[in-house]
């Protein structure tokens, strides 16, 4: 738990917390303009639990087979002292790594040296060690570790400190730090699934940005962290790793702008009625009545937070709830961004149809434009199917 008790903590109340990770930070930024999601993310609410509680559906977990395969690939890539990574980094990032000095900062690796450190304190420790290693990399490149696994960096998301665990940080002799990301979806005949690839790029941008912040904190120029990152993927259907380098500068800058607008999360919560808070999550094995009551309380707490329902919402854990709401309010957003965009400031489906059929007079110029467009669509259909009469 964080020690400050602002509006975010008071809103979350007793509801389970889920610390943000890079994937969720990237996911949050995929729903631009959704105040509901921003507030819930900044308050570090466990979205999966909240989603399955209010829509009374079991959480969609990740398939164990997908997890196993991902782990197998990562193990293979980092086996033998990360030999594969080193050779790929030499070839693709053009790094001269005459001697590999590597260091693992994962919780498992540190547990021996620092017994008894757990939870948030472990994260802080790993973050401190990452900072030290990074400083050494810059001040004493000849002696310092030049390949760091499971480094931990921090990012400020709406006032909430997010700890991010990186796959690999590689350091070059020319004084720049590169981020290496290992993924297990395949590249087939030179092409990877574009949706997965773009998710990876956004996630990697979160790492790069957090490292740039770290550089600023230790007094180094942020461009020490290269925006050219290396993604390691399996080639075709086999486990042979290949690497793709990609300059994600554009995504890092976009992310910086988006993050700058996040601190308003607290303001969002300031605007809702005082005392609005999520209920405690019922214990495992709680009765149906208790679950129903908690779900109703959660829905009530969410109601004052304005959502922005768009095409991308299907991947959000709250999708079912927001969809029901959009349907209940007969919102044009329910039909997707294209329809909502075409309907402009007319957000009600019945109102849009009334305008189209002339049952309602447009209130302003933009409503008149929507009315004209929709009436034209309706008239074209009538002409086609029944003639003008």
């Amino acid at each position: 738990m964080t020690n400050t008790s602002g509006p975010l903590e008071s809103f979350r109340g007793e509801f389970p917390r889920q610390p943000l990770n890079a994937r969720r930070v990237a996911g949050a930024l995929e729903a631009p303009g959704c105040q509901r999601r921003t507030a819930l993310d900044a308050a570090a609410v466990n979205l999966d639990k909240l989603g399955s509680l209010i829509s009374n559906s079991p959480k969609d977990r990740q398939s164990p087979f997908a997890i196993t395969r991902g782990n197998q690939f990562e193990q293979q890539v980092v086996a033998n002292g990360m030999a594969e990574i080193v050779s790929l980094a030499r070839r693709h990032l053009g790094l001269l790594i005459p001697e590999v000095r590597q260091h693992d900062l994962s919780a498992a690796a540190l547990r021996e040296a620092y017994p008894g450190v757990t939870g948030t304190r472990m994260n802080e420790l790993r973050e401190r060690l990452t900072r030290q290693r990074a400083e050494e990399m810059l001040t004493d490149p000849a002696q310092a570790y030049n390949l760091i696994r499971h480094a931990m960096t921090r990012l400020d998301f709406g006032g909430e400190i997010v700890y991010l665990e990186q796959d690999v940080l590689a350091f070059a002799v020319d004084g720049r730090i590169h981020v290496v990301e290992i993924k297990s979806y395949p590249r087939i005949d030179g092409r990877a699934d574009p949706r997965k690839a773009s998710a990876t790029v956004r996630q990697t941008a979160v790492y790069v940005l957090s490292l740039q912040h770290l550089m600023v904190e230790i007094g180094a120029p942020p461009d020490v962290v290269s925006t050219t990152t290396m993604i390691v993927l399996p080639e075709n259907l086999f486990f042979r790793p290949i690497a793709v380098t990609i300059d994600i500068d554009m995504y890092v800058r976009r992310l910086r702008r988006q993050l700058a607008s996040v601190p308003r999360a607290a303001e969002i919560l300031d605007a809702i009625p005082v005392g609005t808070r999520l209920p405690a999550h019922p214990a495992d094995g709680a009765g149906a009545d208790e679950l129903t009551a908690a779900a109703a309380a959660a829905r009530e707490a969410l109601a004052p937070l304005p959502p922005r329902f768009t095409d991308g919402c299907v991947s959000c854990p709250l999708f079912h709830h927001c969809r029901d709401e959009a349907e209940f309010h007969r919102s044009t957003a329910r039909l997707g961004s294209a329809v909502a965009g075409a309907c402009g400031n007319v957000t009600d489906i019945a109102a849009a149809l009334a305008l189209a059929e002339g049952r309602r007079a447009p209130a302003d110029a933009s409503e008149a434009a929507v009315a004209a467009t929709l009436a034209r669509g309706a008239a074209a259909a009538r002409f086609a199917t029944g003639g003008l009469t």
């Binding site: 079991p58 969609d60 977990r61 990740q62 398939s63 164990p64 087979f65 997908a66 997890i67 395969r69 991902g70 070839r91 053009g94 297990s184 979806y185 395949p186 087939i188 005949d189 030179g190 075709n236 259907l237 290949i242 095409d311 919402c313 299907v314 349907e327 007969r330 044009t332 329910r334 039909l335 997707g336 294209a338 329809v339 965009g341 075409a342 309907c343 489906i349 019945a350 849009a352 149809l353 189209a356 467009t373 929709l374 034209r376 669509g377 309706a378 008239a379 074209a380 259909a381 002409f383 086609a384 199917t385 003639g387 003008l388």
Partner: protein, 472 residues
């Protein structure tokens, strides 16, 4: 978004039922399609878990399962079972007419585009070149079936050789949900074909609750059922218990895949309820020709597929793709007034009633000669704002080309015939007084041969990275 489709989406949501986007069916339906559904192991495209197929809804579909999808020989065993029946189905389409073209072509029906991509792009791609001799060889039917599956991958727009049910349905109906929700066949059918007494949104929710149509299985089912059965398979030490586990797995998988299988047939029924559009036959004819070409290549041992096309091949393909996309749009609009209505709504086409015709009109052309340029005057049903000089074609007779004349301020649109209905033999094609007509931007396609792509266009130039071998 097109104004017509926006209005239809609003209507669908308000009336809680799908709205027809077409009045006719624009895909060919085979009397004997092969309906095919399947799963692969989560996160592992190359590990088929189950396939289920059949050519008749009244028969129990065939089903093959791989008790350990990561085991190569078990995978080949299952694929060989499928390959034998797949090839038997395809062999029914070998007979030819006098011109040497196959009399009919096969048709694969899958629940969604993702399944089609997986079968052609992964299963076909990674089995077509397998060696059938030497060590750890594959059964010979597997690479042959792979060549056929590769043929069914990456088809051109307008082809009906493979029907992805969700794509075919969304071409014909507009739902009142998110476009990404339309990718779920069961939910989509909830809108288009709800059970009696149920409104579409409710039926779509019920559809969402059914197991996924593939090629990804339900992760909760993976964790709760599949993982356990695979573990039991590994633990079993004799043939009897293994085949018992295999039977149990087949039963579980049938339960998961049967809804998608049944939904494919429901989708075909819905499509079959629409009368076929005129150009469906000619497009199917071109499908038959490409099927014939593939059979010839297989017979001659020339059925090769490039894993990575050359830039020139890519550019050529893109050019054909663009031409076919345009052709399909044009043909659908000619065949179907409701499809044309979307073009009218967007303002590109003119719809209205003929209020005056002047079949004998003559004007002076650029060379000073008098030429026959019949004139029709149309009272537009919807405002038409394209400028004078816009060329349009009669939708019922796209050979008739007209040009919009400058407006005379009356609100009527005057258009003169440039060709197609300006001679004594063709003047009868001119619309009559009082006719309702649509003048569209879609003319008869030009028949000249498109130039071959001989050099690499700038769009397809490759930036050579430090390692040219990576692009191979």
């Amino acid at each position: 978004m097109n104004a017509l489709h926006t209005h239809q989406a609003l209507l669908a949501a308000a009336e809680r039922r799908a709205v027809a986007k077409t009045t006719r069916r624009h895909v060919h339906l085979s009397p004997r399609p092969l309906v095919l559904v399947g799963y692969h192991l989560a996160g592992d495209l190359g590990a088929p878990l189950a396939l289920m197929w059949g050519t008749s809804r009244d028969e129990e579909p065939h089903c093959t399962v791989v008790p350990e999808p990561r085991n190569r020989s078990l995978r080949f065993e299952a694929l060989a079972g499928f390959a034998a029946e797949f090839l038997a189905y395809l062999s029914d389409f070998e007979s030819r007419d006098e011109a040497g073209v196959c009399l009919d072509a096969p048709q694969l029906v899958v629940p969604n585009a993702a399944t089609a991509d997986w079968l052609g792009g992964i299963v076909g791609r990674f089995t077509r070149n397998l060696r059938a001799d030497g060590d750890s060889s594959a059964p010979p039917s597997v690479p042959l079936a792979g060549k056929y599956l590769s043929f069914f991958a990456d088809l051109m727009p307008g082809s009906s050789l493979v029907l992805a049910a969700t794509d075919a349905l969304t071409t014909h109906w507009q739902t009142g949900q998110l476009p990404s929700e339309d990718l779920n066949l069961a939910a989509l059918l909830g809108w288009i074909d709800p059970p009696a007494g149920m409104y579409a949104p409710q039926a779509a929710r019920a559809g969402e609750a059914s197991p996924p149509a593939g090629p990804e299985s339900d992760p909760n089912w993976d964790a709760e059922t599949l993982a356990e059965l695979i573990q039991e398979w590994h633990a079993a030490d004799d043939e009897a218990s293994r085949s018992a586990i295999r039977r149990e797995l087949a039963g579980e998988i049938r339960e998961q895949l049967t809804p998608a299988w049944a939904d494919c047939w429901r989708a075909l029924d819905r499509l079959d309820s629409l009368p076929a559009a005129d150009h469906v036959t000619s497009r199917w004819q071109s499908d038959r020709r490409s099927w014939t070409g593939h059979c010839d290549r297989v017979a001659e041992g020339r059925a090769y597929f490039r894993n990575i096309p050359t830039p020139v091949q890519d550019a050529t393909r893109l050019r054909i793709l663009e031409a076919r996309t345009e052709d399909l749009q044009r043909e659908m609009a000619w065949d179907d007034p409701l499809v044309m209505a979307a073009v009218v709504a967007s303002g590109e086409a003119l719809a209205g009633r003929v209020v005056r015709t002047d079949a004998q009109r003559r004007t002076q052309n650029g060379n000073g000669r008098m030429v026959r340029r019949p004139l029709i005057t149309i009272e537009p049903a919807l405002e038409f704002a394209r400028p004078a000089g816009t060329t349009l074609f009669l939708s019922t007779n796209p050979g008739v080309k007209l040009e919009v004349l400058p407006s005379d301020g009356s609100g009527l649109i005057r258009a003169e015939v440039l060709r197609g209905a300006n001679q004594n033999t063709t003047i009868g094609l001119l619309p009559n007084l009082g006719d309702e007509v649509v003048l569209s931007p879609y003319g008869k396609p030009e028949f000249y041969q498109r130039p071959k792509v001989e050099y690499i266009p700038w769009t397809h130039q490759q930036i050579l990275e430090d390692e040219p071998e990576e692009s191979q």
